[in-house]
């Protein structure tokens, strides 16, 4: 299951931000008007979903406004889940959401370093906080709060194949996130290049994290096992140092 986000269909009402706060019982936060529809300015521990606002004027369309939902993308190959050292802090629901358990979080913030989309935030108790695709709703066959409230189907919830077919029907050739990071749980129907919508052309888990996962982690047990085995072998094959043997004839 997943979400399909269509910025061209979004009217910027930000009902999704409100619905998300309502369902997840997140407090309102004081923010300041800095001259744009975007408010608050960034995701916070109490804001899991934010509509990013961009003006993209061109010759053809001098009044082009874009509204793009920014939130956890629920990557199939999730950097946060890869790097997290605490079992159960991050977990995958059967619907495919990357959900979190604050009680298991140890507050190390490694996930924020491994996330290709800069999503995880930390609350005042130092615990992870982010969109979990309303795992408590989707587990009961209800759409996530944001998708449920969206009046224009700019945020749509459903099986990924259906969402892909829906995007195609609407005339979107390529869907962002179809294959990135093993397939994103949040798909985006873009008319232009992803960077126009403020998205990475090729989102990737930081190389050092991939190297750590693929090389350093296996080496750490192969290394330990190797030297223990080598010591044992040395003890049997060559044996301990004997003082008498030092006299060489």
């Amino acid at each position: 299951m997943g979400l399909l986000i269509t910025p061209e269909a979004c009217i910027g009402c930000r009902g999704c931000q409100v619905a998300c706060k309502s369902w997840n019982q997140l407090p309102a936060e004081k923010s300041t008007n800095y001259g744009t529809y975007e408010n608050p300015k960034d995701l916070t521990p109490a804001l899991f979903n934010k509509i990013r606002y961009m003006e993209v004027p061109s010759e053809k369309d001098p009044m082009r406004w874009l509204f793009v939902s920014q939130r956890c993308m629920h990557c199939e190959d999730a950097g946060c889940m890869k790097i997290c050292p605490a079992p159960g802090a991050y977990y995958r629901t059967k619907e495919g959401a990357v959900a979190i358990n604050k009680d298991k979080c140890i507050g190390c913030r490694l996930c924020s370093a491994a996330c290709p989309f800069n999503i995880p935030r930390y609350d005042d108790k130092g615990k992870i906080s982010k969109c979990h695709l309303c795992f408590d709703r989707i587990g009961n066959n209800m759409a996530p709060a944001c998708a449920k409230t969206c009046p224009t189907e700019a945020i749509k919830y459903g099986p990924r194949e259906e969402l892909m077919a829906f995007a195609k029907k609407k005339g979107y050739e390529k869907v962002y996130g179809q294959a990135d990071l093993g397939g994103l749980g949040a798909l985006y129907a873009f008319r232009d290049a992803p960077k126009v919508y403020g998205m990475n052309e090729k989102p990737e888990i930081p190389e050092s994290v991939v190297f750590w996962h693929n090389v350093l982690k296996p080496l750490s047990y192969i290394g330990l096992g190797g030297v223990v085995a080598a010591s044992l072998l040395h003890y049997i094959a060559i044996g301990p140092h004997k003082d008498k043997d030092e006299e060489v004839k």
Partner: protein, 204 residues
């Protein structure tokens, strides 16, 4: 009663075990984090508690490692022709038939081990403190996480070697870190240059 000589001071022994115990517990909890091993977390009282313990053991480890600098660094950085000969015969560990060149208080292998311990120890300590205290800086956090794990490899490979060589592979060595005393005749064989120094200073 055999004639004994003191090889390690009482404080040196105490500090060695602080370093050793903190290092082993850090490595065990480190494996717990690395592979999300619930059983290890349970032993340390759950993962959030294990994080706190891991951090403070890191403090003990760092202080203890710092103190060793005054004990072994000077000797570990002093090399001569006998060290080259020691490397050439692999310290006599691959065959009992070779003649091991005369060694001082610590042999060439121990010198390298100690230098590695200092280099990777400082690396793992600094990056550990960065991960603990400044996780807001993502570039530092990512880099520290990488270096912390590279240094971890040194410890999980070299510490077992150190333990093996100082116990099973060289019977009688462990007492240096228990009572600190070893038989004089035994020391004369194993550390001829050190004993020569001791005898020389006695005469003077």
């Amino acid at each position: 009663m055999e004639n004994m000589i003191r090889k390690e001071s009482g404080f040196g022994i105490f500090n060695h075990w602080i370093l050793a115990i903190s290092c082993i517990l850090l490595a065990v909890s480190g494996y717990g984090f690395l592979f999300k091993i619930e059983a290890i977390g349970a032993v340390f009282g759950g993962f959030p508690t294990m994080k706190t313990i891991h951090n403070w053991l890191g403090v003990a480890f760092s202080v203890s490692l710092f103190l060793t600098l005054f004990m072994y660094l000077k000797e570990a950085l002093t090399f001569d022709a006998d060290d080259a000969r020691w490397i050439a015969c692999a310290g006599g560990y691959l065959s009992h038939k070779v003649k091991i060149p005369p060694m001082g208080k610590i042999n060439t292998g121990q010198k390298f081990y100690y230098i590695g311990l200092v280099v990777f120890g400082i690396g793992i300590a600094i990056t550990g403190f960065l991960i603990w205290l400044f996780p807001e800086n993502k570039q530092w956090l990512t880099l520290s996480h990488l270096i912390h794990n590279i240094c971890f490899l040194f410890f999980v490979v070299m510490v077992p070697v150190h333990i093996y060589l100082s116990t099973l592979a060289n019977p009688g060595t462990l007492r240096i870190m228990i009572s600190g005393n070893i038989p004089y005749e035994w020391a004369k064989k194993k550390y001829p240059k050190w004993i020569a120094e001791v005898e020389h200073s006695h005469k003077a």
